[in-house]
Subunit: 681 residues, 2 copies
């Protein structure tokens, strides 16, 4: 099968003979690629112009809803992708992680972006900073999309998930993507991208695909670009030191090798629940994708005194793993991705056995189901380190079904061994000893992007050592590349530039679309609660009448609510309180009375007050104080397709001398209709 | 003067002849350095062991209070630093930015860290993520200090501010610092560090100083380190591609050149306020530090039609700048830092004049006050570009008192010219046209770390184009290095590692010191409000009695507060509301009644409820519903030296069927005494 690239809105072939890739189970040729004649310079230029401008015309929520639509269409097409996936050596279970896992990531990014980011083009970061006493000079940090290309260079092991977990956050951020698919499995990525393009959901220029070798792709990067890379340390070094990269400082997010450790706590006895849970996890991690996962377990750290027992039990379980043709339903583990990969793993094993005993050697396999030894097969391999300080044990990542057992003598030794891995994507701990776990986690957290702790409570519910989740950080320091992917909306911000904007309050309001104290106040002539969502302007304000807070109010409120705290009800005690110095009104009464002052009672577009944010009581209110309220439309975010939007109102309660007594944001749902029709939301 | 380094707790000299540095005004030798015999490997090791462990023993607030104490002591010693500063060529006004600006940064970091970060060792990031339906498996992102060295390589222009603005966030984060001072002005940094060390405030190992050349300093970096660099693009390239850096992936934060632009809006007429404000700003930026600021204005973009008038007016003002010996109080601009720097600037001017007309040439100066031409003087230099598309105009940063005027024809041309700078630390806009400003800012934000907008409102209050502020981001994409410094607590997190911790709720509670839903609940036998701060355990919980919400309650509450919104008072209208479908209790009544259910009335350790965070009404409460409250001690942060701490209580209102009706955090101040003494807080 000839596999094309998708550039500048067209499928295209680089011409010439190209590269050939084979099914690692059968040796059959499955794909031929060529990038020889492709014009990547024009593809980058197309992304920077057509892609950037089309994306800039959309809001974050619009992009989120495209992503959701895309995920649905992909779901409908998944059977065909499963078929192609066998040709990469993946079992059905492996493909589920790659395919369904990838689609799930799209759904998560779509819903999180809708719930956690505004329906806007600019995302604010942190609070407004007041820079002058008179309030005429303020600042706000904002995130805007980087005006370049997100070049995403993927690894071979997850041709679908890997593509989508990088694409989703870049697309939400508003950056056009050029996917550089891995060579060995690019035909599956191409099949995915074909469905994505045929879906006709994405704006033109938002997605391009390069399949095949591409030695010159980095020659086209510029300063606003983001390069996200998953793969080998050697390729990462080429990227980091590439003259174009060094000259222009595109942002890099790099995820490389990782000699991930799983740890059995010192409390675990032989045959205990944790002992068995750890064995289950190792068996799963070693067989899934034939161990070709950057998050797989490479080192098993166990108390020295039970290492031999664990080794024996684990070895028996590993011998039970059925290896062979992934199309056969009995098979639990398929081949490696290629014969070259098999050779690389074999030579890593050769390096490891210099400092390890061999418990189980997968380089020779007797039982293969439905497959020939000429395929790229390596069986489960278990090694046992003879010295925990040997460099090779902590530094060599055999990217296949290979694990090394290392015994630790005490907690200090354990921490030393973990850190000898020099930075990892993930570590896991199996222990019921809370104190040990808390101390260990604090000791080793900075060497990890993710740490999983399994104990009796979550033995059944945990999601596993090797599973990155869309909402959690994926990436790690040091050897792991020091990049960050996923982590929910954190990843979106890696594709945006953070900028501090300084200016007058109105300038900030214009730039961010959010009202800032000191910005223009609009008094519309009607109560703001009578204005439907789309007509409501940022800055629209209601100034209430005054109300005196009396001792009778405080008494009545205490009586009604049952809140007879001494500060409100007992003058003697309240006088002793260093903050109040005498009876004061309930804070809850203030916000309640404020609502009484600002609400507009009749039926109208304001559907509900669904919450309050950042309420601070800044000045105690004594009886006799006259309070009043200012309520200003601060921010709006429309809920696409639901007939209403969220409106936050900046609210301030002041006394007769204009001292601020309380400030908060009132959160409301506002209909787009003046008189909502009462339908279901 | 022989200048020593401070390593492993001692002042030391590298021996040999070393390098010699001269006062750029007088040519007198002012300093000799040598790093020849220094053992940097041991210095790094000392930081990793003594430094890291001493810092790990302190909380963020403890570090903040050390920083504050240090800033006070530095303030007392500032006269001596001002004296030394003249020898760098700085005027008194220049030194004020460097010295007082540096101390101010320490004060800001001390107070922000106390107010915005917990008094703890771990900082949580974002919300708890629920990962299993039953709540037994959850996750929390945390920041912990990177367990390495913060190697801070400073530029010559701000020997004090530059050192302190990098030191403060690393120290708050808990990383030991090795300062590599700039060679030309390292004697002033050494004088600063001597005061810091003599103050005896910092933990041993927290601060070391290398003065002089140090070709091998990068050979010692490891994966947990952070390298923060300010300086030239050529040195930045050496750092990025250094074999040790490429092999180990320390985190990099790089700040390099920047051809910053200031922009006069198309609305500005010749002689208008904005026209004059921009001229004032350029005069200030060109003369301060003789233009040796990474944030200085290099390009002045003005509407083509008024370029000549601006050029003429600006030229007159620039000619009025008094240049000479910085010790003379009449002098407004001193020399460049060295004769070599003067040569570099002169050759940049030479390059620029290939595409520019010379309006004012500072390479020849007639009037020098109190100084000889043999000093490193260059006078104010104004060039006028003959073509806005010439590469040199947008790419050459003459690091001295040199500006180039560029005329733009329309807004599209303007955006193109700004972007041709390829990334900058700062840009500024002088305009009163709100619409133009908002559109321009959105167009160019991603090319900047900071954008200043000056208009009529903040003409008097703005802090200037060239002033980084401790609370605002300093750094920029592309040419500027793509690093981030300052920005308040954002910078602290650059010295920490973000890690996702997955486990049972109790595991997360143990690691973070914060209660998580599902973690252990402690029922202490007394009301939690009777427990003083230090005895109060995380997880301490109060379960209230039930209370029925009646129609009479709703009526009374409406009557007392004045809140007669239809959803509470008008059954007919409330039925039309798609969320309520009938009369419901006021949300404000719920939280008020909840307080009635949970408060403990008598005088005791709870001093005040100072606010509420993240209140969400999740289920409308109809008359007849019986509500109850759970109040759980979620997080604690002691206020060092104030006798109380902040306690947040996770609060949940549920109905008789345990549906959650509202959830929020109640924020209180809790005394360390069971019966507070009533003193001032």
């Amino acid at each position: 099968m000839r596999v094309e690239s998708y550039l500048q809105g067209d499928w295209c072939d680089g011409g010439g003979e190209g590269e050939t890739y084979c099914d690692p189970t059968t040796g059959d040729v499955v794909a031929q690629f060529s990038t020889q004649g492709l014009n990547l310079a024009e593809a980058f230029q197309y992304a920077r112009t057509t892609g950037c401008s089309n994306l800039a015309a959309t809001t974050i929520h619009q992009r989120a809803s495209m992503l959701k639509a895309l995920a649905k269409i992909l779901g409908d097409a998944k059977e065909s992708l499963y078929e192609v996936s066998y040709q990469t050596g993946a079992t059905k279970a492996d493909s589920w992680i790659d395919i369904d896992g990838g689609f799930g990531t799209l759904f998560t990014y779509a819903s999180r972006a809708t719930n956690e980011l505004p329906n806007a083009k600019v995302v604010v970061d942190g609070d407004v900073e007041k820079l002058s006493r008179d309030g005429s000079f303020v600042a706000q940090h904002v995130f805007t999309p980087r005006q370049g290309v997100a070049l995403q260079i993927n690894a071979f092991n997850f041709p679908i998930w890997g593509t989508l977990e990088k694409f989703a956050p870049a697309f939400i951020a508003g950056m056009p993507v050029i996917v550089k698919a891995a060579e060995q499995t690019g035909f599956l990525t191409a099949a995915l991208v074909r469905v994505m393009i045929d879906a006709d959901v994405l704006p033109e220029g938002a997605l391009q695909l390069v399949c095949g070798k591409s030695h010159d792709i980095l020659d086209h990067v510029q300063s606003q670009d983001v390069i996200a890379f998953t793969g080998s340390t050697s390729t990462a070094r080429i990227i980091r030191t590439h003259p174009q990269v060094v000259a222009h400082n595109p942002r890099l997010s790099i995820e490389t090798d990782s000699v991930n450790a799983t740890i059995l706590g010192p409390d675990a006895k032989s045959g205990s629940d944790e002992f068995n849970l750890l064995i289950d996890e190792v068996v799963k991690e070693i067989s899934t994708k034939a161990g070709q996962k950057c998050t797989a377990i490479r080192r098993i750290l166990v108390p020295l005194e039970i290492m031999d027992e664990l080794s024996a039990s684990l070895s028996i379980r590993l011998q039970g793993i059925v290896t062979g043709n992934p199309r056969n339903e009995r098979v639990q583990m398929g081949p490696l991705v290629s014969l070259a990969a098999k050779d690389r793993v074999a030579s890593c094993i050769e390096a490891l056995v210099q400092s390890c005993d061999v418990v189980l050697d997968g380089r020779t396999i007797d039982d293969l189901v439905d497959a020939e030894r000429s395929g790229a097969f390596i069986g489960p391999t278990l090694l046992q380190a003879t010295s925990s300080t040997a460099d090779v044990v902590n530094n060599v990542e055999a990217f296949g079904p290979v694990c090394t057992l290392i015994g630790y003598s005490d907690n200090i030794d354990l921490v030393r061994i973990v850190k000898a891995g020099d930075g990892a994507l993930v570590g896991s701990i199996f222990s019921n000893d809370d104190e040990f776990v808390a101390s260990l986690v604090n000791n080793i957290a900075s060497y990890h992007g993710r740490i999983l702790v399994v104990n009796g409570e979550n033995a059944q519910s945990h999601t596993g050592h090797g599973s990155p989740l869309p909402t959690l950080l994926h990436g790690g320091p040091g050897r792991a590349g020091d990049g960050e992917e996923l982590g929910g909306m954190r990843a979106v911000k890696h594709y945006m530039q953070r900028t501090a904007i300084q200016g007058s309050p109105q300038t900030l309001a214009n730039v961010t679309g959010r009202w800032v104290e000191g910005a223009e106040i609009i008094e519309p002539g009607v109560h703001p609660f009578r204005i439907p969502f789309h007509e409501l302007a940022i800055g629209t304000t209601f100034f209430s009448a005054e109300r005196e807070v009396t001792i009778a109010d405080i008494e009545s409120f205490a009586h009604l609510t049952g809140d007879i705290f001494y500060a409100h009800m007992d003058e003697e005690s309240a006088k002793r309180n260093p903050i109040f110095g005498g009876r004061v009104a309930h804070g809850y009464f203030l916000v309640s009375a404020a609502a009484g002052l600002f609400v507009d009672p009749p039926y109208g577009p304001v559907l509900a007050n669904y919450g309050i944010d950042a309420l601070r009581f800044t000045k105690p209110v004594k009886p006799g104080t006259r309070i009043k309220v200012r309520l200003t439309c601060k921010s709006k975010s429309f809920r696409q397709g639901r007939g209403y939007g969220e409106v936050a109102w900046d609210t301030q309660i002041t006394d007769q001398d204009d001292n601020v007594c309380a400030s908060y944001d009132v959160l409301t749902m506002v209909s787009e209709l003046a008189i909502p029709d009462g339908g279901e939301t």
